[in-house]
Structure formats: structure tokens, C-alpha cells
């Protein structure tokens, strides 16, 4: 089971500033373990954001992204009380979804 994300959402006018910390090993497929064997590729492939259940953002990411990455974007038209959920899916099919309620500005 994947560890929870840390989602920070800050409202500035009608622009929502979202910062997401994700716990993921993000293996590049290039690294060798202690025994000298290649550690297989393991990385977040897609990140999607939904506002009140409606998709508002989708990103496809590669193994070039660092371990435990920070992901940030800005969203227009959000308001206090909206439910923002973030989902990532990795190349092994593992998934994690976390949700926050947009706080007052």
C-alpha cells in the first residue's frame, strides 16, 4: 500500500495554488542494488486532479522525476469548500488517491 500524499491547496482570489508531495521510490531502472542487480523501473506514470469529481488536470510523468516528488499547479475557478482529489498511478499499476477540502483564503 502506498503512503499518503501531502496536499496543500491555497486559495488566492479565484486561483488555487496546489502543491502535492508524493511518497514514491521513483526508480529509474538504472540504479543497481547492493548485490549489483539493476533495480527495475518503478515510477509514477499519470497524475490526475479532480475538482468536485470533475477532471481538471492530467499529467504524464517519466522516470526522470525525483524520488518523493513535489508536484505543483495552479487552478482557476476553485472556491472554498470544493473537494480537490489527486490520484497517481505508477507503471506497476499501484494507485493512490487523496482528497482535501479547499480552505478559506
Amino acid at each position: 500500500m502506498a503512503d499518503p500524499m501531502k496536499i496543500r491547496a491555497k486559495l488566492d482570489g479565484d486561483v488555487l495554488d496546489v502543491r502535492v508531495l508524493m511518497a514514491h521510490p521513483m526508480e529509474t531502472g538504472q540504479r543497481k542494488d547492493g548485490a549489483g542487480n539493476l533495480v527495475p523501473l518503478h515510477f509514477i506514470q499519470t497524475i490526475t486532479a479532480q475538482l468536485n469529481g470533475r477532471p481538471v488536470f492530467q499529467a504524464e510523468t517519466s522516470q526522470a522525476v525525483s524520488r518523493n516528488p513535489v508536484f505543483g499547479f495552479k487552478l482557476k475557478g476553485a472556491k472554498t469548500g470544493d473537494k480537490l482529489s489527486i490520484t497517481w498511478t505508477d507503471n506497476k499499476g499501484d494507485k493512490r488517491t487523496d482528497e482535501v477540502t479547499v480552505p478559506t483564503a
Binding site: 496543500r8 508531495l21 497524475i47 525525483s66 524520488r67 513535489v70 499547479f73 476553485a78
Partner: protein, 278 residues
């Protein structure tokens, strides 16, 4: 769907880059501050806003609450010095004397003690591979990170009221100045004078209160190189390795004594919570 939701900016992914470690926040008066240090501090300020250490705080919080181990108990009855289950503010008041064990203990040592006594974990097994690597973060590391995070913004205030606590400080000071090993080093060789540096890294003088905070500040810390979480137990272990000393025991009384010396010297300074390192 009438309302249009527009994305203002492309997503930004912050990758970890290997950069020299900066000096901390306090300005050492004797050291001239150079451009490299200034620039790095700006870089660090950006990173601190989104520190992956928070992920380990979350994990540690979950581990604290979950019934685990052979006794299937949670750590919610663990006494970190402020009473069973009280985590808020405990970290900045450690190391301290505990009557139940009859000795002074630091945060991680006490957490391991609780895991052994309350949850029934095996102390020897926990000490076997106590430090994080790329694929594994030991539970005591995550729990210590959680506990440290619960003292964010508080002043460092380790008690020195009991004789055992004063003795730990005295022993710690002795260790700090003790020269030995292949290089005839002591902690004080690098951290006992103002204005020293290794390559681009300025070395804080831990004997002065304004700088001693830098022994505590930033730990537990997320190390960008490798993306691993480390505590002061690891940091001190690595200091002894660099001095070519024999390896100190994990959560040993010697390390607690040294941590007592560093904590007491940092007394009154504000702890900023788990940090981020190069």
C-alpha cells in the same frame, strides 16, 4: 459544465540536485558570508516550503497510532517525558531523565524503548539496520520524524534539573572534546572554533549557543542525495565514521550524552522541525 477551469501554469516538478550544503540560519559574526552561501540559502528556502520530510511525518504518525508488534499495541501510551501519549513539545525537551529506566534518554532511544516495552519488538533486531537507505526507512526513523515535527516552532528546552541530566551533559562535553582515532580528531576539531569549513560547507561552532542550534536544526532531515530520511542518530554515527572512531552503538548512552551536550548548548533557540539537506 459552464464554468471553465483553466490551468494557469504548467506543473512544476522539483527534482533533487546535488548541491553543496549551506550554512544555517544564524550569522556567525567571525565568518564572511560569500555569494555561494547566500545563493544556496535561497535555494534551500524554496525546498523547505515543500519538504518530503513531511511524508515521513505522516508515516510516523500512522505508525504511532497503529497497534503493532508481538503485543499488538500502539505507541499512544509511550511516555516521551511529558506523560503517556503526549507528543506535542516532547522533542525539544529531550534528552531527559526517565525514572522507569533510571537513565537519560534521547528521542529515538526513548521511541525504541517504547517499541520494545509496549509493542514487544526485539531491541537487537531494531539495532541491526537502524538507518535509512534508498529502499527502506526503519520505523523508529519515521516515528522520530513525526515526534520532532510535533515540536515545530518551539524553543529547545532540555531539562538540566536532575543530577543524571547534568552528568549526561558533562559526559557529552567530554566526548565532544575527546581526541582519538587514526586522525587524532575530536568533534571539537571541526566544531569547536568559529569560521571553519570543509570545502564549501561552513562548520558551525557547537560550543556557542547561537550556532549550536545548527546541530539540532534540520534534523531529522530529508537528504536529497538518495532521497532518504535521517535522524540525529545517523548524523552522529556518520560524524564518528568521518573521525575514524569505532562505531558508536545505536541509541547508546554515549550518543545520548553527546546529544544532551548539543541540546543544552542550543537551549532557548527555536526548533524549525524536520529539515531538508543536500
Amino acid at each position: 459544465m459552464t464554468r471553465t477551469l483553466a490551468l494557469c501554469a504548467a506543473a512544476a516538478l522539483v527534482a533533487a540536485a546535488p548541491v553543496p550544503q549551506a550554512a544555517g540560519q544564524t550569522k556567525p559574526p567571525a565568518v564572511e558570508r560569500d555569494a555561494t552561501t547566500e545563493e544556496f540559502e535561497k535555494f534551500r528556502a524554496v525546498l523547505e516550503a515543500d519538504n518530503p520530510a513531511e511524508l515521513f511525518e505522516l508515516r510516523g504518525a500512522a505508525l504511532w497510532k497503529t497497534p503493532r508488534g508481538p503485543k499488538n499495541a500502539s505507541l499512544e501510551r509511550c511516555d516521551l517525558g511529558l506523560g503517556p501519549g503526549v507528543v506535542k513539545g516532547a522533542y525539544v525537551q529531550l534528552p531527559r531523565y526517565f525514572a522507569d529506566t533510571g537513565k537519560v534518554m534521547d528521542a529515538e532511544q526513548r521511541i525504541v524503548h517504547c517499541m520494545v516495552t509496549l509493542q514487544g519488538f526485539d531491541a537487537a533486531a531494531l539495532a541491526k539496520q537502524p538507518f535509512s537507505n534508498e529502499t527502506r526507512t526503519p520505523d523508529p526513523v519515521a516515528i522520530t520524524t513525526f515526534v520532532a515535527g510535533q515540536s515545530r516552532g518551539m524553543k529547545i528546552a532540555p531539562p538540566q534539573t536532575r543530577p543524571q541530566e547534568r552528568e549526561a551533559y558533562a559526559v557529552g562535553r567530554e566526548i565532544f572534546f575527546y581526541r582519538a582515532g587514526g586522525y587524532d580528531f575530536s568533534c571539537a576539531s571541526c566544531h569547536g572554533e568559529d569560521g571553519k569549513r570543509i570545502r564549501t560547507q561552513q562548520l558551525p561552532n557547537f560550543t556557542r549557543p547561537e550556532e549550536a542550534i545548527r546541530s539540532y536544526q534540520g534534523w531529522p532531515g530529508y537528504r536529497m542525495t538518495g532521497g532518504v530520511m535521517h535522524t540525529l542518530q545517523w548524523r552522529l554515527n556518520d560524524c564518528f565514521r568521518q573521525q575514524r572512531f569505532p562505531e558508536p552503538g545505536y541509541v547508546s548512552d554515549s550518543l545520548t550524552a553527546l546529544l544532551t551536550y548539543l541540546a543544552v548548548n542550543s537551549k532557548g533557540q527555536v526548533y524549525k522541525g524536520p529539515g531538508i539537506k543536500r
